[in-house]
Each structure stands twice: as structure tokens, then as C-alpha cells.
């Protein structure tokens, strides 16, 4: 299989001082269809020597090197100079870039800091930036390419679809790597791995990656599909996953739930205690969710459970808020008040406080109310407050999806 090796160099002291580096997954997604695998990522502070050293090392190993960040107009933007140093070239003023900036800003004479943005590494082909002043730069280094990109995603992302992708295809001519992302809920990571092992054994020609979420597991089958290996392996995985498969590609669990409801002309509503709006928040992340989601109540206090959802005071007294009875009354109440076809409820102990021997931290009761009545479930989730809340939200969205499908 003909695969290109690509390396990523991320620049910016903030990446080593607390800011999360989001680049690698984003570039991975962009590079795979172009036939490249990301084989190393390096993050360096705003230090000319260090950036130049990262670039030199990457160019020794990979046929494509992407450098992200450090092309802005301020003192700590050093990527141009570092790339020039790594290649033993100069930074020069580009007439074409200067004209493009003059046009964009309607200025006949550019002020010094803007004029600096027209400087590029000798021999670079500039790529226009529709959302900023820093040009991308493509440099041919023997049989390798070095690409400099501005840091902000809204600036570098528009550069791919046009000139950059065409340039990479023309220069390297690699077959695209196919990838199928299968998304499941309700399985743990080891469980999913065991379930899918027969497909992995049968189709060793494909590559497999498992990514565990909070109560969700993504399974990526990838490789050269010119002989159909990836397609056949993915089909085998689909069969093995069965009802646990909620979607493919970038479909989210709430989107899968929404599609199932929409296809049947049904609506849903939410009654949340311990998840405190997280489940409704996940649902309404999906554009167009207003077509099938009527709304929800965050009934954090017992008084709110009684007043807004019609939970009986006696239920709370006898059974407590974290109980099957309360979950059932919350779900039935939400279905009624939002006049929806379905409603779910979540009530549990997310921690860190509030647990008892009988009702430990992580215990969550769920209700599902629908045209055929109300069901309840309970689960005990491991992890801290944030994990318990996210796993509980994903769990009930998936249970609702399964009932509807």
C-alpha cells in the first residue's frame, strides 16, 4: 500500500503552558483522504532555534511536513524565519502578496506590520487566507513538501479544499486512504474490542482504531480500499455491532436519536436532575433539533420536581429523589407538560458528595415514558462527577433511540 508519511509541527508557547492542542486530530482528518498518515507531531514554544530544529527533523523523516502557527505580525511569530533557517534560505518580500493585501485593505501603502505579512520564504508559493492576513506557504524541498499554515482553524481550514489539496495531489499522486467510522453506544472499550475481533482477524489488510468516549465507542476501519478490503471489513463490523451501532462518520448520538424520531414524526422531552441540563444540551447541539425536541425541565430541587413535573411529595418522602418511582413520575410528567410522544428522566448521585451505603455516588435512575407506558432502569457509573453526568446522559439518549428504532 502506497501511503505518504506526514509530520506536524505546532508552534506556540501556549501549547506547552496549558492550552489544549487540538491540531493533530484535525489534520489527521484532512490528510487521510490525501493518502497521508500522520507519523509524528511536535509542539514547540515560540523559539526560532527550536522551531527550525523541529522542521529539520521532520523533513528528514517525512515526505510532507505541515507547520501550524507563528505566521502572525507580532514579535513571537517566528515560523517564517525558522523555516528559512531550516532550509538555508532567505525571507523575501513577495510582490504578489503585497498587491493582494493592498487590494484587500484598500491601501496603496501598507503600514509596516501589514507589509511584514507580505514576506515569505524564498521560493514559497503563497496560499491566500480568506480570514486573516497571514499567507500559507508551500515549499518544495527536493522530493518533499514543507507547508506553513497560520494557527487559527478558520484561517488554515479554507486553504485545504482549493489550492492546497490540488497541490498535494499533483505533487505526490497518492491513492486516498479510505476510512469508515462506526459509532456505538452501550458497550465498553474491551467489550467492543472482543465483539469486533473476528472481523479484525478475517481482514488483516485493513487498519483498526478504537476510540472510547463516555459510554460510547468509535471504531475506525481504514486503509487502501482499491481491492475492497476496507469496505468488506466495515460491513463485517456493522453486522457484529448490530443494534449497538447508532451511526457512522460524524453522526452524533443525539443526531441519530433525532433522525429516528423525525422519520416517525415523533417528539421527545427531558426531565433532568443530576445531569442538570447536560442531556438537553447534547440534544440541542444538533442543528434542527427543534423539529423533534420540545424542551426539558432541569428539576434540580425537590420542589421543582413536584411543581413542574408533578412528582408526588409522598414519592419523594418514601422513596427519595433517586428511585425508580421518582424517575417514572419525572418522565411521565415531562411527557405530559411538553405534550411530547416520548420523554426521558435522569435522577442520580453524580458526586462527589451525597452518596450513602444504600445509594452510592454514581447510582442513577432513569425513566422512559412513551405511548405504551413508562419504563425505568438503573445503572451505577464509575468516575468523577463530570464522567457520571456525561455517561448518564449518553446512556439515556441511547436507550430512547433503541426503543424508537
Amino acid at each position: 500500500m502506497k501511503t505518504g508519511k506526514a509530520e506536524l509541527v505546532c508552534t506556540g508557547s501556549e501549547l506547552l503552558e496549558g492550552k489544549l492542542n487540538l491540531y493533530a486530530p484535525l489534520f489527521h482528518e484532512r490528510l487521510r483522504p490525501l493518502g497521508f498518515r500522520l507519523t509524528r507531531e511536535q509542539s514547540s514554544g515560540d523559539d526560532l532555534e527550536a522551531i527550525a530544529d523541529c522542521i529539520k527533523g521532520a523533513l528528514r523523516r517525512a515526505s510532507l511536513v505541515l507547520v501550524c502557527g507563528g505566521l502572525g505580525p507580532t514579535f513571537d511569530d517566528l515560523t517564517r524565519q525558522a523555516a528559512a533557517k531550516a532550509l538555508g534560505r532567505k525571507v523575501v518580500l513577495s510582490g504578489a502578496c503585497r498587491q493582494a493585501l493592498s487590494r484587500a485593505f484598500r491601501l496603496r501603502r501598507l503600514p509596516p506590520n501589514l507589509l511584514d505579512q507580505a514576506r515569505i520564504v524564498e521560493g514559497a508559493k503563497p496560499i491566500e487566507n480568506v480570514n486573516g492576513t497571514a499567507f500559507g506557504e508551500v515549499l518544495t524541498v527536493g522530493r518533499r513538501l514543507l507547508v506553513l499554515l497560520p494557527g487559527p482553524r478558520r484561517e488554515w481550514e479554507p486553504m485545504f479544499p482549493g489550492r492546497l489539496e490540488a497541490g498535494l495531489k499533483a505533487f505526490f499522486g497518492l491513492p486516498p486512504l479510505a476510512a469508515v467510522k462506526l459509532r456505538s453506544a452501550g458497550l465498553g472499550e474491551p467489550q467492543a474490542e472482543r465483539l469486533l475481533r473476528p472481523a479484525m482477524r478475517r481482514y488483516p489488510g485493513a487498519s483498526y482504531t478504537i476510540l472510547a468516549g463516555q459510554g460510547t465507542v468509535d471504531f475506525i476501519v481504514s486503509g487502501d480500499d482499491s481491492r475492497g478490503v476496507v469496505s468488506r471489513a466495515a460491513a463485517a463490523c456493522r453486522r457484529l455491532l448490530g443494534g449497538a451501532l447508532y451511526g457512522e462518520g460524524e453522526t452524533t448520538l443525539p443526531e441519530a436519536l433525532g433522525a429516528a424520531l423525525k422519520a416517525r414524526g415523533r417528539t421527545a422531552a427531558a426531565a433532568e436532575s443530576c445531569t442538570g441540563g447536560r442531556a438537553a444540551g447534547l440534544i440541542t447541539d444538533a442543528p434542527g433539533s427543534s423539529a423533534w425536541f420540545n424542551g426539558g425541565v432541569v428539576a434540580y430541587s425537590n420542589a421543582a420536581k413536584v411543581r413542574l413535573l408533578g412528582v408526588k411529595a409522598g414519592t419523594l418522602k418514601r422513596r427519595g429523589a433517586v428511585s425508580a418511582e421518582c424517575a417514572a413520575e419525572m418522565a411521565a410528567g415531562a411527557r405530559k407538560v411538553f405534550r411530547s410522544d416520548y420523554a426521558f428522566s435522569v435522577t442520580g448521585i453524580a458526586g462527589p458528595g451525597g452518596g450513602t451505603a444504600e445509594k452510592p455516588v454514581g447510582l442513577v435512575w432513569f425513566g422512559l415514558a412513551g405511548p405504551r407506558g413508562t419504563r425505568t432502569f438503573s445503572r451505577r457509573f464509575r468516575g468523577d462527577r463530570a464522567l457520571v453526568r456525561e455517561r448518564a446522559a449518553n446512556f439515556i439518549l441511547d436507550e430512547l433511540r433503541k426503543i424508537i428504532e
Copy 2:
């Protein structure tokens, strides 16, 4: 200033195939109090040669090298072998590790895959793993230290407070780097930078980092504080930020809001349309929020706004759901139905669809109801659906905080 250079090597193909790398910010927080700055991070796939190459490079540049991941018992766990190769040493069976595993698993004879976990690089000092079978390893390489750590956070994190921190202090004896994190809301990144520039000019002996969130900006002042430079610079920044400063350290905006309400014995509630539960979700992320947050309504449909919050049908007809009048009625309705001292409302057009010339995508109306009546605001946020929602949620939490404080 005496600062140690540390480098991080992260191993695991998943880090180059779509999984977010969370290590750098976590290790940054751990290393700063020990007197180290992170100067480079490298991520490598599960490839023995590549990991060894990353380690060799890092040991040439830094006095402390941490390698994270790849110490498990499966075929793709190669960090031990890679470290041995980088140092020209062997991997050997450790009697002490073997005994510790025998005790932990109450087995006199370890099965082969568990026995493999007792193998360490020649000369390494093992560190016990309270949540797993992979030992941490500390290797002295001349005047440098190489530390191998298991990948899962729950396994490596407990290794720091005890032996690892003590070992690093004893070996290097560096003064700790002080750091003050000031957290602000309501300022953009360039605005915050302009505001704080006088402090940065006056105290050039400290280092400064700006981290922009969605409608929030963190400002970190760090350095050697043995002469009080960091403390004085942080005090100057505090004065400059004024009311925009909502908290310090790891305090979140909802926690700051909660502390302000709790101190005054007051409660709050939420009425959300376009944020769809995100604001309530942020609030209930904070442990103990039930003491001051009564709950919320996600009134995604107009019918829910009328039925649950008492918004007048005439208001929706005349002004629409995205209007000052609707925002005011939503906030007043939530305050009443949850019997809280304060309530806020959010109603806007998060996009991508639904915008008009008069009410474009990003336009959001807010209401704040309190003992002294109801106020409304509007803002136009830039960005996609997720950004508009997060910025809107942070905006109104901060406005409520300012009114209460």
C-alpha cells in the same frame, strides 16, 4: 532564574489517528511547581524506532524527559524496549516488581503477561502503580532524568505526590515556579491584552500567557517569585482587570456565580431557549450547585415558553421569540415558577439556519429577573452554532454574577 527544561514524549498511534492529546496541559501543571518548564512535546505512534528516536532527541535537549504511555502488556506497548534502545541498555526482570505483583494479585506464580509487567529497563527505579500493573520507571542518564509513566491519567497521576516529586526535587533542587491564574469574562483577547499591557511593561521579570475561552480570558503570570515579582505583577493585573475578574486558579465562572449567591443566601433559576440546557449544564457542573440553583426550563418550542414560563402568546406573535419582551417574560416566569431570588433567560438564533436580515444568526436576547425587577440585553455573537451557544451561556452567567456582586 534557575528553570529546568523538561520535554514530554507521548506514545500511542491513537494520538495521531483522531484522539485528542490531553497530556501537555496536565504535565505542565505538574511540572511548574517543581521548577520545570515544558519546552517541547512529541507524539509518536506505536513504533519502537520512532519512540527511541523521540527519547534520544529529548535527552539531548532537556534535563528531564517524561515518556507517557506504552507500558501495558500488549504487543503495541513498546516504551520499555524503546527507552532501553535509546540508552543502549537491556530490559531486565525486576525481583522487587515481581514480588509486588505477586502480593497484589495473591499469586505465587505470575502468568506470562503479568510477569512481563515486572520487566524494567536496566538500572531503573520502579514506582508503584496503585491503579494498574505497569510500574513507573526513573532512569538516571548522567545529569539527566528519564521517567517512564503509564498512559492512563488515573495510573500516572498518583505517582507524582509521593516518590516522583521527592525524587525530582532531590535530584535537581530547583526553586518552584510560581504561577497566578487570573480569570476574566466579558473581555475579548486583544482587549484583555491592551488592558494588561501596563502591568506587563512594569514587571518584565515575570512571564505572561493569555488563554482565550468563549467569552472568557485567562491570564497567567508566572516565574520565580523569590523576589516577589510575580506577586506584584499579579496584584497590578488584578487592579487593571477590576470587575471583569471573576476568579483565580481553577475557579470556574459558575463557581464564582455560586459563591456570590451563597454568600448572600440567594438562589437562581434558568430559562433557556437557544442554549438548550448548556447554561444549566455549566452551572450544575459545579459540585454543590443544588444549594443555590433551583433548576431551569429548556423552553425550546414556543408552546413550552407559554405553558411552562408564562410567556404571553401575544408577545410571541407580535415580537417573536427572539426579542427583549420574550426574554423579559421568560426570566420573570422562571423566577416565579422556581421561586428563586434571581432568574436569567437566553433566547436567540444559534444557527446555522433560522437567521433573517432583521434577526441574523448570532443575535441573542437575554433577561435578568431579580428582586428589583427585570432587565434585558442583546448581543450579536460571531462563530458557529456551538460557539454562539457557549458564548451566550458564559455571557449571561457573568452578567448575573456582576449584578449580584
